[in-house]
C-alpha cells in the first residue's frame, strides 16, 4: 500500500477483481441507454426485466389489504374498518400479527417467521404429496438472496465449478464471478425445444474435471429463464440421477412454477420427482429449491419475498447456513407475509375468494395469450425464429443476423446482438436484453424480451418490431427473399 500521492483503496484499479468481472446484462448497457433515452423524452417500453407491475399489471387485492392492515394495526381497532376491508382480510391480518410478536417492525427469526414457514411447508406438502419440514425452509429478501447465499457457501476457490445452463439468467454467472468460482456451461438445445442433452453434459463435466475443476453443483431453471421451456418428469428424473452419480447438489430455481402456458408438461417440482424415485436417491441427493413472490401471477417484485428449501443437507451444513443468515438478522417482514399469503391464498368459501380467483385467472390467461401473440409475431419476421414460451415470462427469439450486420457491429465495437438491440431501441423504444447477456452458442444471436406489456399494446409492439426488423434485414441482407428465413 503506497502512501502519499499513490493509489487509493477505492481507485478502480484497487478494487476486488471479482467485482470487476461481474456482469449483469439485465440492468446493463441496453437498460442504461434506454434510461438515457427516456430522460430525453423518448417513450420506452421496458421489456428487459420480469417486472409485471411496472408494465401495468395490477397487484392482487387481497394481499394488499392484509399487508396494509398489518402495517397499520391501529386500523383494526377502528369501528369503521369493516367498511373498507373485507372480514377475511381483517382476520388474516390478525393471524399474521399473532405470528409476528412485535408486528412488522421487529426482526423475526433469522430464518423467517416460524408460522409463515409452516404455511410454506404445508403448501409444498399439498403441491407434492410429501411432507416438508419448516425448519429446513428459510425465507429470504427475494429468491436471489438465497441463490447467492448458497453459491457463496459452496464455492471455496476458483477450482470449484458450478454447472449452469446456457442460456441462463445471469444472476448465476454474476454470483459465480463474485464468489470466485468457475462457471461450467451446459448448452440447452434450441432445436429440441431448449432440451437437455445428457451425453453433452457428461462430456462437459469430464472436460472440466480434466482441467482440475471440481464440479460441485448443477443449476436448473424450471420453467426456464430466458428460454421458457418446461421440463418433463423424465428429464427431471435424469437430472436427479445425474446429480446422484456425479455427486452434485442440485439448485432448482422454480420461481416461475405458476407461469405455465401449455398443458402437456405441467409444473412438477424437483423435490417431488426425487421422492418419487425413492431410496437411495431420495435420501442422498442434495437439493435446494427456490421460490418467490416476484413472479407467477402475483408479480410482487418490489416486496423482495422468497424462500429456499433444503433437502438432504447434513445438519452441520444447515447450522452454517443459519449462521450466515443470522448476520443479516432477518428477511423483511412484509415480504414474509406476502409469501405466507401466496402459499396460503383465499379458499373457496372465503369472502375474498371469488375476486382473488378472478384476478388470478385473468392474469394467467392473458399471459398465456401473450405468450402466443409474441411467439407468432416473432416467427412472422424475416430471419427470426422463436421457440414457444412454454412458461416463465420471456420470449427469446433467435435473430439470424446477416454477415454484413455482424461486420457493421464489429466496426462499431459492439457484439452483434447488442448492436441489433441498440438499433431496435433507438428505432422503436423497445428495450430488450441481448442474448449475449444470457449466453448462447457461438455465432447464434438472440434477444430476450418479456411477455409482460399489456395485451392491448401487444399488436402495436409486435408490428413496430416487425417493421424495424424487416427493414434492418433489408438493409443488411439485400432486398426481397435472399437468404432470409422465417418460420411462418
Amino acid at each position: 500500500m503506497v502512501g502519499g500521492g499513490g493509489r487509493k483503496p477505492l481507485d478502480y484499479e484497487e478494487l476486488n477483481e471479482n467485482v470487476k468481472k461481474v456482469q449483469y446484462a439485465v440492468r446493463g448497457e441496453l437498460y442504461l441507454r434506454a434510461s438515457e433515452l427516456q430522460k430525453e423524452g423518448k417513450k420506452i417500453i421496458f421489456t428487459n426485466v420480469g417486472n409485471p407491475h411496472a408494465l401495468g399489471q395490477k397487484p392482487l387485492t387481497f394481499p394488499r389489504q392484509v399487508v396494509a392492515l398489518c402495517q397499520a394495526p391501529f386500523l383494526l381497532d377502528d369501528p369503521n374498518v369493516g367498511l373498507i376491508f373485507p372480514a377475511d382480510a381483517i382476520a388474516r391480518a390478525k393471524h399474521y400479527l399473532s405470528l409476528a410478536p412485535g408486528g412488522l417492525g421487529a426482526y423475526s427469526d433469522s430464518r423467517g417467521i416460524p408460522g409463515v414457514r409452516k404455511e410454506v411447508a404445508e403448501f409444498i406438502q399439498r403441491r407434492d404429496g410429501y411432507p416438508s419440514d419448516p425448519e429446513l425452509i428459510y425465507l429470504t429478501d427475494g429468491a436471489s438472496k438465497g441463490v447467492m447465499q448458497m453459491l457463496n457457501t459452496i464455492i471455496r476457490n476458483e477450482r470449484d465449478g458450478i454447472l449452469v445452463p446456457v442460456p441462463q439468467y445471469p444472476l448465476y454467472s454474476a454470483a459465480i464471478s463474485l464468489f470466485g468460482g468457475a462457471l461450467v456451461p451446459y448448452y440447452l438445445e434450441e432445436e429440441a425445444n431448449w432440451g437437455l442433452d445428457f451425453a453433452n453434459i457428461r462430456q462437459t463435466v469430464t472436460a472440466a474435471r480434466s482441467k482440475g475443476i471440481t464440479v460441485r453443483a448443477m443449476v436448473i431453471i424450471n420453467p426456464g429463464n430466458p428460454t421458457g421451456q418446461c421440463l418433463s418428469e423424465g428429464t427431471i428424473r435424469e437430472l436427479l440421477s445425474f446429480c446422484y452419480h456425479e455427486n452434485l447438489v442440485l439448485l432448482a430455481d422454480e420461481v416461475y412454477q405458476q407461469n405455465i402456458y401449455q398443458d402437456e408438461r405441467p409444473f412438477i417440482s424437483a423435490r417431488k420427482v426425487l421422492f418419487d424415485m425413492g431410496p437411495p436417491m431420495s435420501r442422498e441427493v442434495q437439493l435446494i429449491s427456490f421460490h418467490t413472490v416476484s413472479k407467477g401471477y402475483w408479480g410482487e417484485c418490489g416486496q423482495r419475498g422468497g424462500y429456499f428449501e433444503m433437502t438432504n443437507l447434513p445438519p452441520k451444513t444447515v447450522d452454517e447456513i443459519y449462521k450466515v443468515a443470522s448476520i443479516a438478522l432477518s428477511p423483511n417482514v412484509p415480504g414474509q407475509i406476502f409469501m405466507g399469503l401466496m402459499v396460503n391464498p383465499p379458499k373457496p368459501g372465503d369472502i375474498s375468494y371469488m375476486k382473488y380467483a378472478a384476478e388470478s385467472k385473468a392474469i394467467l390467461e392473458s399471459l398465456r395469450r401473450r405468450a402466443h401473440i409474441m411467439t407468432d409475431g416473432f416467427n412472422s419476421c424475416r430471419n427470426v425464429v422463436c421457440n414457444f414460451t412454454e412458461g416463465a415470462m420471456y420470449s427469446f427469439p433467435q435473430i439470424r443476423l446477416p454477415q454484413r450486420a455482424i461486420d457493421a457491429a464489429k466496426s462499431a465495437g459492439k457484439a452483434a446482438d447488442v448492436f441489433y438491440c441498440l438499433k431496435l431501441l433507438e428505432a422503436t423504444g423497445i428495450s430488450t436484453v441481448p442474448g449475449s447477456g444470457f449466453g448462447q452458442k457461438e455465432g447464434v444471436f438472440h434477444l430476450r424480451t418479456t411477455i409482460l406489456p399489456a395485451e392491448e399494446d401487444m399488436p402495436a409492439i409486435m408490428s413496430s418490431f416487425k417493421k424495424f426488423n424487416d427493414s434492418f434485414m433489408d438493409q443488411y441482407d439485400g432486398y426481397g427473399g435472399g437468404s432470409g428465413y422465417s418460420r411462418m
Binding site: M1, G5, K8, P9, L10, Y12, E14, L15, N16, V19, V22, V26, A54, P59, T61, R64, V67, A68, Q71, A72, L75, N80, L83, I84, G102, G103, L104, G105, A106, Y107, S108, S110, D141, M148, N152, I154, L178, F179, R216, A217, N247, V249, P280, E284, Q286, C301, G302, Q303, R304, T317, E320, K323, S326, I327, A328, L329, N332, V333, P334, G335
Partner: protein, 482 residues
C-alpha cells in the same frame, strides 16, 4: 457416497465467520423458551428476558403512527379512492402517500425500482441529509438497501481483494464488521477504544495499530467508525482527530461510518454530528476524502427493524467505481420498496404545522425519554454492584458493563473450553432467563470481560431485571471468589 455439500467442503470463509449476537447464547435461549412453553415451571424463572438484540418493537415499543399510515396507504393505494379513508387516516399521511406514489413509476409499489432506489425518495433523503448537516447531498450518491448491513457487505466486497487487505475496526465493535470481513476473506485490524475515558480514542493508538498492520504486510484499506457506538454507546468525539490524522498521513481515504443510531442521544451535552458534516466543516470537499455513511430505519426512535430499510451515501468516489457499486446493486435488482419509503419518511418526518406533527413529537419524545431513563437506571444499577463497572451510554441502545471476573471463574471457564464471558453469560441465562451477548463477540482488550445488554425491555421490567441480575452476580462471585 460422499456428500457434496458437507461441513468439510464448505467455503472456509463461511466456516470462519461468527456472529455472536445470534450465536451460542441466543440459540440456547430459544431452546429454553421452547422448554418453558412445553413444560411451564421446569426452569428457575418463568420468562426469558431478551437483552441481546436491538429489536425495540419486539418489546412493545410502538411504531410511529404517521409512518405506518403512509406505508399502509402505499401498500394498498386503492384506499386513496375511498371516501371512508379520510376518516381512518390523517390528512397529511394521505397527502404524503399520494406524493410518494406519484414519484413511483406507474404508482407500482410492487415493481422492482431503480437499483439505487426510487429517484424521488433519494431526492428526499438527500434533502434530509443536507438539512441535517448544512452541507449538500446528492441523490446519485445514495443507495437504498435492505437495512444498513447489505451496504456494509457491498463495500467489503468492493474493497477486499485477498487476506492481506485490512479494514480497521473499533474494538469493541458490532460484530457485523468482523463477520463481514471474515466472509469476504479480509483481515480485521483492530483499534482499541479506551474504556477508562468513556470509550474515547487516543490517536496514538490508531497510528500504532496502523503501523503494526503495515509491518505485517497488511494493506489497510478503510477505517470504520460507529457513531454512536455499538456496543459501547459513546458519542464519538474523536472524528476531528481521525480525519486530521488520515489527511496528513494520507494512508487511506475510505471511511465507513454507520450512523444508524443518530437519533438515540441521551446526554444533553453531546450532539450527533455526522462524519460527513465534520469533514466538510474541516474543509474537505467531495474529492479529498472517500466517505461512506450508513443509515438504517431499524434504530432511532422508529425502531423498524423488520422493514429492512436503510441507505448508504457514498461520496468522493470516481465514476468508474460508482459504476461497479451500481453493478453489484443491480444483481439483486433493488431493495424492498416499503423499506425505501420508510427511509424517506425517517429523513423527512412531519414538520411543525403538519396535522400529524403533535402526535409525532409526543410519540418520538416519549420513546427517547423512556430510553434515556432506562439507560440511566441500568448504568446506575450496574455501577452499584461490586465487581461491575459500566460507562454511561450516551447514545444507541446498549450498555457494555465490564465484569471483573475472579481468577477461579476464568479457570472454571477454561476447563469447559469457553471464554469467561460466555461462561458467565450462559450461567446468567440458565439461572435467571436473562439473555445478553458476551463481550468476546464484539472484541475487547485482552483480559477484560464485558456483556452487552440492550436497554430495550419495557420500563416496568427493568427493576426486576436489575434485581435478578444482581442476585445472580453476587452468588456467582461468591462461588468463584479468589
Amino acid at each position: 457416497m460422499a456428500t457434496s455439500v458437507s461441513v468439510e467442503t464448505l467455503n472456509p470463509k463461511v466456516l470462519r465467520c461468527e456472529y455472536a449476537v445470534r450465536g451460542e447464547i441466543a440459540i440456547h435461549a430459544q431452546h429454553l423458551l421452547q422448554q418453558l412453553e412445553r413444560q411451564p415451571g421446569s426452569l428457575p424463572f418463568d420468562e426469558i428476558l431478551f437483552c441481546n438484540i436491538g429489536n425495540p418493537q419486539s418489546f412493545g415499543q410502538k411504531p410511529i403512527t404517521f409512518f405506518r399510515e403512509v406505508l399502509a396507504l402505499c401498500d394498498h393505494p386503492n384506499l386513496l379512492d375511498r371516501e371512508e379513508t379520510k376518516s381512518l387516516f390523517s390528512t397529511d399521511a394521505i397527502t404524503r402517500a399520494k406524493k410518494i406514489l406519484a414519484q413511483i413509476p406507474g404508482r407500482a409499489t410492487g415493481a422492482y425500482s431503480h437499483s439505487q432506489g426510487i429517484k424521488g425518495l433519494r431526492d428526499e433523503i438527500a434533502a434530509g441529509i443536507a438539512s441535517r448537516d448544512g452541507f449538500p447531498a446528492n441523490a446519485d450518491d445514495i443507495f437504498l438497501t435492505n437495512g444498513a448491513s447489505p451496504g456494509v457487505h457491498m463495500m467489503m466486497q468492493l474493497l477486499i481483494r485477498n487476506d492481506r487487505d485490512g479494514i480497521m475496526c473499533p474494538i469493541p465493535q458490532y460484530s457485523l464488521y468482523s463477520a463481514s470481513i471474515a466472509l469476504h476473506g479480509g483481515a480485521l485490524v483492530p483499534y482499541y477504544l479506551d474504556e477508562s475515558s468513556g470509550w474515547g480514542l487516543e490517536i496514538s493508538e490508531l497510528k500504532k495499530q496502523l503501523e503494526d498492520a503495515r509491518s505485517k504486510g497488511i494493506a489497510v484499506r478503510a477505517l470504520v467508525v460507529i457513531n454512536p457506538g455499538n456496543p459501547t454507546g459513546q458519542v464519538c468525539s474523536y472524528m476531528y482527530d481521525v480525519t486530521r490524522e488520515l489527511s496528513i498521513s494520507s494512508f487511506f481515504w475510505g471511511v465507513h461510518q454507520p450512523q444508524v443510531y443518530q437519533e438515540n442521544i441521551y446526554v444533553t451535552n453531546k450532539k450527533f454530528n455526522s462524519f460527513k458534516k465534520i469533514v466538510r466543516s474541516m474543509g474537505y470537499n467531495g474529492v479529498d476524502l472517500r466517505l461512506v455513511s450508513f443509515q438504517s430505519v431499524s434504530k432511532g426512535y422508529y425502531g423498524e427493524c423488520g422493514k429492512r430499510g436503510g441507505y448508504m451515501e457514498v461520496t468522493g468516489f470516481s465514476t468508474t467505481v460508482r459504476e461497479q457499486l451500481y453493478k453489484i446493486a443491480s444483481v439483486n435488482l433493488c431493495s424492498n420498496i416499503t423499506g425505501q419509503i420508510l427511509a424517506s419518511l425517517v429523513m423527512n418526518p412531519p414538520k411543525a404545522g403538519d396535522a400529524s406533527y403533535d402526535l409525532y413529537e409526543v410519540e418520538k419524545d416519549s420513546i427517547l425519554e423512556s430510553l434515556a431513563r432506562r439507560a440511566k437506571a441500568m448504568v446506575f444499577a450496574f455501577n452499584g454492584i461490586d465487581g461491575i463497572t459500566c460507562n454511561k451510554t450516551e447514545g444507541a441502545m446498549y450498555l457494555l458493563p465490564r465484569i471483573h471476573l475472579p481468577q477461579k471463574a476464568i479457570e472454571a471457564a477454561s476447563a469447559v473450553n469457553k471464554a469467561p464471558d460466555v461462561f458467565y453469560a450462559r450461567r446468567l441465562l440458565d439461572t435467571t432467563g436473562i439473555v445478553v451477548t458476551p463481550g468476546s463477540g464484539f472484541g475487547q482488550v485482552a483480559g477484560t470481560w464485558h456483556l452487552r445488554f440492550t436497554i430495550l425491555p419495557p420500563e416496568e421490567k427493568i427493576p426486576s431485571i436489575i434485581s435478578r441480575f444482581r442476585e445472580f452476580h453476587e452468588e456467582f462471585m461468591a462461588q468463584y471468589r479468589d
